[in-house]
Symmetry: D2
Subunit: 266 residues, 4 copies
């Protein structure tokens, strides 16, 4: 939830380089500090295999996504890629377990003490969380135009787990069946994205210790929106396990190498 060691890519051409070259200034605006490696920023490929597999395979520098962007972009991507979702009015609500803060953050901010985080839910970074531009960068690239989101992160009492709930206006009425069909198509062949059946509920427990990201999408006809939810382990698909997946792709290895341990449940 803090600043990633190395942030998202820039560039203009490839689908993996979705932001303008003003990225370094964007970084400064959100992180309140100049980027430490503007050259790397230009070169790096955004490490989300589901969107940028080819670019990752040819990259020498891959930027690890934040856990919130990973959960949000996987949940929303099919809607913007297909044009079924509107680029305006997207609201994203993220809930992160405490390991999302990173070891350093946990040691220095009292909000990560057991007695503060336990039996507690709180929002933070209201309208100002630094993962916001990273989410918008990827969604904008998918939509082919600027996307601005309303994003609110929360700290929930879990060790591991990141749950994302997104509400996306639909450009025309869709049934839940159509939406699930779209997601199945977009994520067909993805080894670590599981699009659940209608009626199944993603739950962070179901992915703890693994590289899976579970996704569900439901049509809210009354509101003219799709509700998209995803669950992942912020240290798994939202963290180091996804990094291993990127490494596998970069090296030309089987993408699942070292990532087949099942989730630990319960």
């Amino acid at each position: 939830m803090g600043p990633p060691a190395r942030r998202a890519p820039s560039g203009t051409a490839s689908p993996a380089r979705s932001c303008s070259s003003s990225d370094a200034s964007l970084y400064t605006a959100w992180y309140k500090a100049p980027h430490g490696d503007p050259d790397g920023l230009r070169e790096a490929v955004y490490g989300m295999p589901e969107l940028h597999r080819k670019a990752i395979a040819g990259a020498s520098l891959v930027a690890s996504p934040g856990c919130y962007p990973m959960g949000a972009v996987i949940a929303i991507a099919p809607l913007l890629k297909s044009g079924w979702g509107s680029t305006a009015g997207i609201v994203i609500d993220g809930k992160s377990g405490v390991t999302g803060a990173g070891a350093q953050g946990r040691a220095t901010d009292p909000m990560y003490l057991y007695t503060e985080a336990n039996e507690n839910v709180q929002a933070y970074g209201l309208a100002s969380h630094r993962h916001t531009p990273e989410i918008e960068q990827e969604l904008s690239a998918l939509a082919g135009g600027p996307v601005v989101v309303s994003f609110t992160p929360h700290l929930v009492p879990l060790n591991r787990g990141l749950f994302t709930t997104a509400s996306v206006p639909l450009t025309r009425t869709r049934t839940t069946g159509e939406l699930v069909g779209l997601y199945r198509e977009v994520y067909a062949g993805e080894p670590f994205v599981r699009v659940l059946d209608e009626g199944q509920r993603p739950a962070t427990r179901a992915v703890v210790g693994s590289n899976f990201c579970d996704v569900t999408v439901v049509a809210d006809r009354r509101a003219g929106r799709a509700v998209c939810v995803s669950a992942l382990d912020n240290l798994g698909k939202g963290g180091s396990a996804n990094g291993v997946q990127n490494l596998n792709i970069m090296m030309g290895w089987d993408e699942r190498t070292g990532l087949e341990a099942p989730p630990v449940y319960p």
Copy 2:
């Protein structure tokens, strides 16, 4: 989170009777069963003192709000009452502790077992939760016209606590300072609503065991929205303590009688 023993009021005239007389059919549509007391439904006053104090004082039958509606309506009401918030595009994300399910629900659905609920976050009732029309009834009355919301409830690993995050489009640009000022004005004199200072974060822990509801509002200029968050104890302001507050009003007693125990923290 299950069906309240007695649901929201109907009526057309008073501000406390905000729904049309079709309420009984609305009940049937969401609860999948006919209302057990349509006469009571017509007579009952909606038990949210912050909106209906006068009507409650003169009522012989008061309907206890659901915990989600309590959290959502307190968080959003000032925006719709003032016309600062738009009636379209409202997205509400609710996070409830496990006592929200009621004792009966907890005993019959495995999702409330410790091993299932612990270290887990999940969404449920996607685009179909029965508290939705209750929220819309109150917001519509405040706005003077129909409000449809996108509402998603979640189960989070807490015994007590209900956290609401609402994203409301603004009809014109406002600063956080203006929004906080509006909330302070609307809730001035309310003994149990605490509008926090800019930068303070509501947290469920801060209200556990009490009848308080803590609220924060922030302007998201980029998205043209207000982010409104509230925290309450679902067994307190979202449950029996609020019922005691209603009783005090009905009986003409000091509204705070029996409700002054401070929160238990941590």
Copy 3:
């Protein structure tokens, strides 16, 4: 769980002054530092109303018991006072919630971070916890001779709550009924000690937010021992609420003043 601000009393005469004047050296041996106020140490009365009510009433300086000693001594006292329990072979197992560490301890030792304490049980201070001599001081005074205990403290994932399980050899065979009868007699009239019925289980939840200490005792005929268990809120009867009880006694006020808020359950 850390060092109390002011430690246990010394003295030789009154039942509340149960240790020899070598106490200051005993303090040094366990706390690895000289006592900061040896005069106060000689004068202070040990603040356990159930044992030292009279001395507290006349005291100008009262030492607040540690939470482990409070739980252990209440659980065991009747057996040693009556001579039913042996002074040798006593084993005490304490389980403390994380607030037991105090705010300062929690901020400086990583073991109190959420991610370390959550979903974790661990023992610490094996054969060396500084509350050991405080327990022995009180038990020795009750037994009229030296008592040495085997005490092991544990950190369990709770905000509040201290659970003590003691196994005490019996000097002759007793039934559970006899033991419960003894405890009822010893604690008759105590406003904050609740001796549970046979078959009832103490649980930390049942006392959270209150000054109660719940106690159960069972005969283990096969082992020739009594199993004595107690549950209290380490910030309640094991902390500040007990301090208020002492204050009430010192001031001659009703002992329950300010302490009648019921536990928060669940």
Copy 4:
């Protein structure tokens, strides 16, 4: 924590058949029901590889140990095998996560609901838990004479994890170094028992998701006792993972087959 599907073995000769043929009646005494398969009871080998590896290798029926006996016997065995520990005065305190109850138990007893188990510690089965004779059977076989223990199980708020704290009188004074040396010798070559260094604390988190059992032993010179603590995952070394280890031994496979997934931490 409930009755195992099939309980401990009987027999007279082999070290793995440590109980007298009266076992079936012992079963009845503790489980309050006749054993369903007395022939199997006579034939079965007790499935603790650390004690009965050879007998398991030749067995056609292996009895899976309960999680409490697994934790207690691993913690204490070296002391009784070596004669360093006394057979009298042993006190065992077990703390189990909620999965210890088994899926069926969790669904039928309210004590396993989230709202009851969360933020709660309680003891149960005081002086009567059915795992007691299973512990005594193995310790008696090691000691070459009857061992009676005082055993108290607890339910602690964890999904997985079983922590055992045993206090064992020593037959003569030993240092912590000597004790650790003994444990290292007894468990040398064991792939899943890790004897920690002096000063290291076992913690359930360190073994979750694995077949490891971590052990520490400390001398309490004042009390003339050893404090022995062990931590395991009740679904791992205390459950199905240990069953896989037994299967591997029975089949002549590498004992670690399928058991090398590391713990999930944090």
